[in-house]
């Protein structure tokens, strides 16, 4: 069978709800596929999830590879890996993308190993480009550039896999834009095989607990973040007040989280949430690279810091050198008096 050359996205869902990163990936896959003149496939696994194929179509899928089976209701590594492995081997996509979620990072490496192909973790960008192999002199056309921060975020590396297919990558949540939906698109539904051996079903889920999320930073239009400079738990009351007044959520640096000023759900950055709100206000945050990679795509950034040399100012659109305890109340006041 000749390779289909399609670009596939793992349409991660839980309890019938698609992860936002799956939609973000569809958006980028659509752009890359249009550049290459190929189709976009969505890999949808679950139980009673046919309805979601409509959403996937509206977000850019030309085909939905659907495995609907009771054993796929809750994510387990082995059954999911089996379905995807078999489906890839039957249709030969050139690229398969996963969200770098806890599920994506559990699943994708197992599949890459099964398929004996490369996998790049935690990409922040994907592009199409050529690669001249310095060892063989072969000029590879239209490879997937898998772009990711490396070594604690200090450098950005571009990775390619010239001789192996499919090219696989996991992509961080929140770094790519959710595409606009289009209605009236029609996608083909392709049935993916779902048959399992006892060994593949042997791992049992005994308990599954989720605490309700206290904050959804990814969906926030405005984020007001506090750092170590806030100086204490009580100081975050001021950050909360500004966020409340202007209709935003509260974010934080890791230093503020580690100091116990606020919960881990609020952390922005490499080991927290990646955000791209319309407005990000950084109060008393120095702007370490691990923080910046999580917020520098914000449309507008205001930085408030006592230290005019703080690296946060290098990504700020509005720089305020000053004491946050003076500036934040002024902002609240100015907004209330507008």
């Amino acid at each position: 069978m000749t390779p289909s050359q399609e670009i596939w996205v793992f349409a991660e869902q839980e309890n019938g709800e698609l992860k936002s990163v799956a939609l973000e990936l569809l958006g980028r896959a659509r752009e890359l596929a249009d550049e290459l003149g190929v189709e976009v496939g969505a890999l949808l696994l679950g139980s009673d999830v046919l309805d979601l194929s409509r959403t996937l179509t509206n977000y850019g899928a030309d085909k939905v590879y659907l495995a609907d089976h009771p054993e796929l209701k809750q994510y387990r590594t082995l059954p999911y890996a089996k379905v995807i492995d078999r489906t890839v081997q039957a249709h030969h996509p050139q690229i398969v993308l996963f969200g770098a979620t806890m599920i994506g990072r559990d699943l994708a490496p197992r599949i890459a190993s099964q398929l004996v192909t490369g996998l790049t973790a935690d990409c922040t960008d994907l592009q199409i480009g050529n690669y001249l192999d310095p060892f063989t002199g072969v000029d590879h056309q239209n490879l997937l550039y898998q772009i990711r921060p490396a070594f604690g975020g200090n450098v950005i590396a571009t990775i390619v896999a010239p001789n192996h297919r499919p090219q696989m990558a996991t992509v961080r949540e929140g770094v790519m834009k959710t595409p606009e939906t289009t209605t009236g698109r029609v996608a083909k539904i392709v049935k993916a095989p779902a048959e399992f051996t006892d060994a593949e079903l042997a791992v049992e889920i005994i308990e599954h607990y989720r605490k309700p999320k206290s904050v959804d930073l990814r969906a926030a239009r405005i984020i007001v973040s506090g750092g170590a400079g806030v100086g204490g738990k009580e100081g975050f009351d001021l950050i909360r007040e500004l966020a409340h007044v202007i209709g935003g959520e509260v974010g934080a640096s890791r230093a503020a989280v580690d100091a116990g000023y606020i919960g881990k759900d609020h952390q922005v950055g490499q080991t927290g949430t990646t955000v791209r709100p319309v407005l990000y206000i950084a109060c008393g945050i120095s702007g370490a690279v691990q923080h910046r990679v999580g917020m520098q795509e914000s449309a507008k950034i205001i930085a408030i810091n006592l230290d005019s040399d703080a690296p946060i100012f290098s990504v700020a659109h509005y720089s305020i050198v000053g004491d946050l305890y003076k500036v934040v109340p002024l902002m609240i006041q100015a907004y209330k008096n507008k």
């Binding site: 197992r110 200090n154 950005i156 590396a157 571009t158 042997a202 407005l279 902002m331």
Partner: protein, 301 residues
């Protein structure tokens, strides 16, 4: 429970600078302080707890240059029973696929195991891929992001992190567990074991020392001396085995750079946005004007 822990020595990425990068994107590890990968220390701790509670043994395997003997000594000082180092130029510059192949071949050579432990991820790559890939190559189930592990009625239970919560899995052995740091506190090195294993060595180290101290000794005689010392150390339990590609019977087409599908093509320093930044005075007027502008631009409602 026979446990194997896969551990890695990593450059301390907190102190990494672009100067430590070579042009081809690999790290010049020699230029950096090297540490025991933090998640791997927690993996070792969980394995030691399993052994202490249910009996069995803990073996540690690392892959890397001879310098990685440091973390194997460290693991022995904390309570591991045995250590092996995979060291061979042909293992080097491997991506996760080739790494997991080499490690899984070493595990197969050891053979007798119930649980394999890995750290969730190594701080020099943050990929979290090697654990699941070793599990796939050994054709055993995996439980990633583990926080806690216990045994009941012949089954192993793993509490693992999931987004915003946790789940508990029941698995049959053999299985592979990757461990998230931060849930268990690694035990310190015991003073008694530290003294005992301070002199633990490996054949290449013995050989290098003999060569240095006796530059004129004929090769044959030198080999004999090295062999004799190595076997004395082994009998005293003070020798770490060093395995080459040949020792584990690995296919050289699948190890090292040759066995790695991915290539680092380009590496750039992180550049800061150079977009214009507007300076706002921290005064009532300055802030007022800013808020007006943001409302005008529909950033604020």
């Amino acid at each position: 429970m026979q446990c194997i822990v896969l551990i890695k020595q990593v450059p301390d990425t907190k102190n990494i600078t672009a100067k430590a990068m070579r042009d081809d994107g690999t790290v010049n590890r020699a230029a950096l302080p090297a540490i025991f990968n933090p998640d791997d220390l927690c993996a070792l701790e969980l394995a030691l707890r399993v052994r202490d509670q249910y009996g069995g043994s803990v073996r540690v395997i690392s892959m890397g240059p001879l310098r990685a003997l440091e973390i194997l000594r460290d693991a022995l000082s904390r309570g591991a029973d045995e250590a092996v180092l995979l060291s061979d130029k042909r293992f080097a510059a491997a991506d996760t696929l080739a790494t997991s192949y080499s490690l899984s071949e070493a595990v197969k050579k050891i053979g007798n195991y119930d649980l394999i432990f890995c750290g969730r991820q190594a701080i020099d790559g943050d990929t979290a891929q090697v654990g699941p890939q070793v599990a796939e190559k050994l054709n055993i189930p995996q439980a990633t992001y583990a926080q806690e592990i216990w045994k009941e009625n012949g089954k192993v239970f793993v509490r693992r992190e999931v987004e915003g919560g946790y789940e508990v899995l029941a698995l049959k052995t053999p299985a592979l567990i990757t461990v998230t740091g931060g849930y268990v506190l690694p035990r310190p090195r015991s003073a008694r074991r530290t003294i005992r294993f301070r002199n633990v060595t490996a054949k290449p180290e013995i050989e290098a020392r003999w060569k240095k101290e006796n530059p004129d000794m004929p090769a044959e005689e030198l080999d004999k001396k090295v062999e004799a010392e190595a076997s004395r150390c082994k009998q005293a339990g003070l020798l770490i085995d060093v395995w080459s590609v040949d020792d584990i019977g690995a296919d050289i087409k699948r190890t090292g750079l040759v066995g790695s599908p991915t290539r680092v093509w380009r590496v750039e320093n992180v550049t800061l946005h150079t977009g214009e930044s507007k300076k706002i005075e921290p005064t009532e007027d300055g802030i007022h004007a800013l808020v007006e502008e943001l409302i005008h631009d529909h950033v604020l409602g």
